[in-house]
């Protein structure tokens, strides 16, 4: 099974989860996702996802001046984002349980 397709499917959830732990700017979020195991996620995919979540009202953004560069756009999860994360988290866990149950029956058989 192609794991990258699976990861792509839950990228929204992963991005929300990463930001909910700590605010971050685009590339920082890419890095944290990679560290968490999303190693083959495309940079542009993360930026696009951020863009969509922001446009959908799940994220807020603010500009923070950085030491060397001009500024960085940070993203934070707002209430809508937190609700979405909770919803998506439930859906994900239910999905995982269902797949696990199926796999357990396969093993027993």
């Amino acid at each position: 099974m192609d794991a990258s397709q699976l990861r792509k499917g839950v990228l929204d959830l992963a991005v929300l989860a990463v930001i909910s732990r700590a605010d971050g700017y685009g590339y920082d979020i890419v890095r944290r996702l990679r560290e968490a195991g999303f190693d083959d996620v495309g940079d542009a995919s993360v930026y696009g996802t951020l863009r969509r979540l922001f446009a959908g009202g799940a994220l807020t953004s603010y500009v923070k001046p950085s030491g060397e560069g001009p500024h960085r756009k940070y993203y934070a999860v707002n209430d809508t984002g937190r609700d979405l994360l909770e919803e998506s988290g439930k859906t994900w866990r239910a999905f995982v349980e269902a797949v696990d149950a199926l796999l357990a029956r396969e093993d027993a058989a």
């Binding site: 590339y27 495309g42 542009a44 696009g48 996802t49 863009r51 969509r52």
Partner: protein, 335 residues
């Protein structure tokens, strides 16, 4: 310091290429995307190794991925001019080309050749005008050509903007194509006609052999055609595989000095040069009375395989009664 400049240029070029792919989006949306994009590219360039294209893929790919994950529709072409597409594909080809070993060095060297092009394009345009107007080539052309070279170099050094820039591009393209054509003509020696117009005679091409020769180079002076029965055919027109008349051509006097050819002529007087055998005569000097005697050149003596010595017995085209007669003696043929 120059490193910083290069990095910034690369980021700018990559960002421009991505934005071109997003040209159909509303301005506000694009502005938001750019904000993140340049920041991102600068970060990747500062941290990773290799070019941005090597790390992130081609700008077009990046843009497509961005669109897909941002939930934007795939690129809608209307705002995308063919020029932008051309430029994008050229850039992509350039990125691919650069990845070839040694290609980067050659590509980086190309801009250094620009002054040479500035020097050449002016005179090329002058030459083009001369050729179009059908004027002659001559030393007097050197003055306008030198002036054109100087003007073109000055233009190249100063650089142009706006409408003039489009005009220069057009002139560059015209000069380029004309230069290429000129080069091919020179290589092909086809400039002879232009030189002839000026009064230089084109170099005469020495005709060293008749049109038709035997493999060893001996000229073929006439053709005699026989049918399967060994009968010599008269007034036969001969053509090659391309449908062109086959001619023996002018017979060099050095080959057979006494040979004379009288061509049959069409109603309008044009010689029928591929109608064989040609009427040929051999001149000889009659020592008795000091006159020149012309006698027909005799047909060669040949043996047609399977034919009966060319004797008249076999000539009859209709099923001759003699076919039913007892076979001729074995000595007369193999049929």
């Amino acid at each position: 310091m120059s490193d910083t400049v290069t990095v910034r240029d690369e980021v700018g070029a990559y960002a421009d290429a991505v934005l071109r792919e997003l040209a159909d989006l509303p301005e506000a949306e694009r502005a938001d995307l750019v904000d993140d994009l340049e920041q991102h590219l600068a970060e990747v360039a500062a941290e990773g190794e290799g070019s941005l294209a090597a790390q992130l893929g081609a700008p077009e790919t990046y843009a497509a991925e961005l669109r897909a994950s941002a939930g934007l529709s795939a690129f809608a072409a209307p705002h995308h001019s063919w020029r932008a597409q051309l430029r994008a594909s050229a850039e992509q080809a350039g990125v691919r080309l650069r990845s070839l070993p040694g290609a980067a060095a050659v590509l980086d060297f190309l801009p250094e050749l620009r002054p040479a092009w500035w020097l050449v394009r002016g005179p090329l345009l002058v030459l083009l005008v001369v050729v179009i107007q059908g004027l002659g080539l001559g030393v007097s052309l050197l003055v306008p050509m030198a002036a054109a070279a100087a003007a073109s170099v000055a233009l190249g050094r100063r650089g142009v903007r706006g409408h003039l820039r489009a005009a220069v591009t057009v002139a560059n393209v015209i000069a380029g194509w004309f230069g290429l054509w000129l080069l091919l003509m020179l290589l092909g020696g086809g400039l002879g006609s232009a030189a002839a117009a000026e009064g230089y005679a084109p170099m005469p091409v020495p005709v060293t052999s008749p049109f038709l020769t035997h493999p060893e180079g001996e000229p073929i002076t006439n053709l005699y055609v026989y049918d399967a029965n060994g009968r010599q055919l008269e007034d036969v027109y001969v053509y090659d595989g391309g449908g062109r008349p086959v001619e023996v051509g002018p017979i060099d006097a050095a080959v057979i000095p006494e040979l004379e050819t009288d061509y049959e002529r069409a109603a309008d007087g044009t010689p029928l040069t591929n109608r064989y055998p040609l009427d040929q005569y051999l001149r000889s000097f009659d020592e008795a009375d000091g006159s020149v005697v012309r006698r027909p050149r005799p047909a060669p003596e040949v043996t047609i395989p399977g034919a009966d010595d060319g004797s008249d017995d076999r000539v009859a085209p209709s099923p001759a009664p003699r076919a039913s007669v007892a076979p001729t003696p074995a000595t007369s043929g193999v049929r």
